[in-house]
């Protein structure tokens, strides 16, 4: 069976969930071989093996932390050359897409980004994408070279499928370009203790109707009652009420959780582009004419300052 390379997104050896989802998708089209780079790469092996990686190629060097993107492209290219895979799957983060793009160019292949599903096809893997603010679903394939496909978080349920996961050292020679862009400083983002926005099963968002940074505490309380991530519309972010890293929409993050709760968000096309593929959509908004109500499974026309605290209390009571 053909091997499929999976690029591993991990933090000091802790594998992030989108990578485990990729292993599930990779098994549909071949045998997953994982590529883990940087500090702690070898510690990823157990989790990757548990989810189907037959092999884990690892390499650590200071270049991965000290320079932007290109060292990882060099390593992934070395992995492609050593394995000759049927496809390469990469998580659809901003960096993941950049790595995938440069790799595709180097190996003479096409690239598909932001797939939400992958299946085997007669002419190679077929990727499903959700486009034009999720108003269309397309099926595409790479027609030249080794398919390079980036996959959005929450595109597959994580399945355990124990495999050998034998660790092998990957031999990497860095290119002249590898050290072109220096990372001269790094400030880690402070953890809120809440789930990562793009990976969360439930997202609770606030928009213009929240009307002030201090009022986002209401949104956070609701999120915490459900173990959810907090999102914000562009209007709320531009007003400085919530950080840009939490922005849901065309110019922010695109999320696809099991449940999305929009509070005080009208539902402009730019916001819908980032959340329309959520499985269940709920909205609270004063304006009965707000376009968000066209999308919802359940909507409450009302003042979020009344509805949200009551909802939070009720959830906390029911959880006992």
């Amino acid at each position: 069976m053909a091997e499929v390379l999976v690029f591993v997104d991990h933090v000091d050896g802790a594998v992030r969930k989108p990578t485990l989802e990729l292993l599930t998708l990779a098994r549909r089209i071949g045998e997953p071989v994982a590529v883990a780079l940087g500090a702690g790469a070898e510690n990823t092996a157990a989790a990757l093996a548990e989810h189907g990686a037959v092999k884990v190629l690892t390499h650590d060097a200071s270049e991965y932390a000290d320079y932007l993107v290109v060292p990882k492209v060099d390593a992934l290219q070395a992995a492609v050359e050593s394995v000759s895979p049927a496809a390469v799957l990469v998580p659809s983060s901003a960096e993941g897409k950049e790595i995938a793009a440069r790799l595709a160019l180097r190996i003479g292949s096409g690239i598909i980004t932001d797939a939400v599903d992958i299946e085997a096809g007669d002419e190679g893997p077929v990727a499903t994408q959700s486009v034009f603010a999720a108003s269309f679903t397309t099926k595409s394939r790479v027609s030249k070279g080794t398919p390079v496909i980036t996959v959005k978080p929450n595109s597959a349920a994580v399945e355990a499928a124990p495999a050998a996961g034998a660790v092998e050292a990957l031999a990497v020679t860095f290119s002249a370009q590898a050290t072109g862009t220096k990372v001269t400083g790094r400030t880690p983002r402070e953890s809120t203790g809440r789930p990562e926005l793009t990976e969360a099963a439930i997202v609770v968002s606030g928009g213009r109707g929240v009307n002030g940074a201090e009022n986002f505490a209401l949104i956070e309380s609701l999120a915490d009652s459900l173990g959810a991530a907090v999102g914000a519309s562009r209007a709320a972010v531009d007003a400085g009420w919530y950080p840009h890293t939490n922005q849901v929409g065309q110019t922010g993050k695109s999320v696809s959780p099991q449940l999305y709760i929009a509070n005080g968000i009208s539902g402009a096309i730019q916001h819908r582009a980032g959340m329309q593929t959520s499985k269940t959509i709920v909205a609270v908004n004063k304006d009965a004419e707000a376009p968000i109500f066209d999308l919802v499974d359940y909507g409450v026309v009302g003042d979020l300052f009344d509805v949200v605290p009551q909802l939070t209390d009720e959830i906390n009571t029911r959880k006992g």
């Binding site: 932007l68 993107v69 290109v70 901003a94 960096e95 897409k97 950049e98 793009a101 440069r102 160019l105 180097r106 292949s109 096409g110 690239i111 980004t113 932001d114 959700s130 603010a133 108003s135 269309f136 397309t138 394939r141 790479v142 027609s143 030249k144 070279g145 370009q177 072109g180 862009t181 990372v183 001269t184 400083g185 790094r186 400030t187 880690p188 983002r189 459900l226 890293t245 110019t251 449940l259 096309i269 582009a273 959509i281 009965a288 109500f293 066209d294 919802v296 499974d297 359940y298 909507g299 409450v300 009302g302 009344d306 509805v307 949200v308 605290p309 009551q310 909802l311 209390d313 009720e314």
Partner: protein, 262 residues
Amino acid sequence: MSLRIVVTVKYVPDATGDRHFADDLTVDRDDVDGLLSELDEYAVEQALQISENSDDDVEITVLTVGPEDAKDALRKALSMGADKAIHVEDDDLHGTDAIGTSLVLAKAIEKAGYDLVISGLASTDGTMGVVPALLAERLGVPQVTLLSEVSVEDGTVKGRRDGDAASEQLEASLPAVVSVTDQSGEARYPSFKGIMAAKKKPVESWDLSDLDLEAEEVGLEGAWTAVDSATERPARTAGTIVKDEGEGGKQLAEFLAGQKFI
């Protein structure tokens, strides 16, 4: 000293319009108005700010690849303050994918001459966000991408990249490819004076032969990817909507419990 900045921009279908696919599964550009991709306005803005903050002689060229109407996107950028424009237009470009677009752009950038390329973070139609990285790879220069802050001094570009896990300070020597996010600074509106001045600014038109490219390297024929189908998403079935009369939060909790979210 002089600094040559090329800003790559895209003419895209208006996202607030009803976007569709044409019969050949390329984006239907006839049914909906086009405009300069909003995210590219930030790239033009940063080029203008670099120019305003520089002691050097800065020349800003805006570059686009697209159909006849794409000139509108160039005019907008010129009216914001760019100095000149290049329009790569050729019937054989129809259906070019991201890899092909990066090839055409890279050839045009090399022909134009550059010290710095600035792009938006992604187009608002394809939203792939890969062209800046592809350009850096093709041009063999550093990529300094997804910046929310950018500055250029003494042949070095510096910027801040806000990622999920960390905020990073980046630095590279020119020539380089930069992309900027919508957090980099509000894009200015063209002034009346700017709009009038733009009419007199030069717009060069190049076709594939000007770039030593063959038709089969681009377009649908040359594409590295193929779209097999495009299906309109079925309209969502109408949901339940209640008016809050004091129990709205409780009713919503009941719905969430019924869906097993609580």
